[in-house]
């Protein structure tokens, strides 16, 4: 069974204090790993897809990386507007099955 574990559950940073969020996964043949951002009271918003180990994607202060067992979302010099819950999801090799989501990391950036 495909599984996704995100850590930490919550992270509090000072503005400008860089850090990383972790997404560990167990999947039978990774066909894609997805990062989403979710603001309070809203639906998740797609950020990145990674397909193979060594791949990296960047968007503003965010960079996602992928290894064979985990993905990191690096946040460089965060601002208060980066505060949100970040969700990770994977697609395995098991036919026409939906994404499997982690429970998310709740990030707070304090000015």
């Amino acid at each position: 069974e495909d599984q996704v574990t995100q850590s930490p559950e919550a992270l509090r940073l000072q503005e400008g204090e860089s850090s990383s969020l972790n997404c560990s996964y167990t999947v039978s043949g990774l066909r894609g790993l997805f990062w989403y951002r979710q603001d309070p009271g809203k639906g998740p918003e797609f950020l990145f897809t990674l397909y193979s180990a060594g791949e990296e994607k960047e968007k503003e202060r965010l960079k996602a990386t992928l290894t064979k067992k985990e993905s990191f979302l690096h946040i460089t010099a965060p601002k208060p507007e980066d505060s949100a819950t970040y969700l990770c999801a994977v697609r395995g090799n098991s036919g026409n099955t939906p994404l499997v989501f982690g429970k998310g990391t709740r990030l707070s950036v304090i000015a």
Binding site: G43, P98, L99
Partner: protein, 112 residues
């Protein structure tokens, strides 16, 4: 841009009522999904549909049913609402089941 529209942002219903949550997508996607999201439990898949009139149970289908009469519309039905169905409900659509999912804004349902 993909647009997934959920008919209500907030709903308040009474125990025992029949509740309909509607979702419409405008990108001709084959797959549509219903999730509920609760603090500490993350996103949990209720039902999904990979074609018109087709449906598949997710992880927590009990107490729910769905309807997909047209490709763009996917409805979640609570046959007899209960207090433990108070939650945030999220609809999503995707080109393929295991591909990027695009979410609606969510419906916060309170059952009293």
């Amino acid at each position: 841009d993909v647009k997934v529209t959920q008919s209500s942002r907030y709903l308040v219903k009474r125990t025992g009522e029949k509740v309909f949550l509607e979702c419409v997508q405008d990108m001709d996607h084959e797959n549509m999904f219903w999730y509920r999201q609760d603090p500490g439990l993350g996103l949990r898949l209720i039902y999904f549909s990979y074609d018109v009139k087709m449906k598949e149970k997710g992880d927590i289908p009990e107490g729910y049913s769905v309807s997909r009469e047209k490709k763009e519309r996917f409805s979640l039905i609570l046959e007899s609402a209960s207090t433990n169905q108070t939650s945030m409900y999220l609809c999503a659509s995707s080109l393929e089941a295991g591909y990027i999912q695009y979410f609606g804004a969510g419906t916060r349902l309170s059952v009293l």
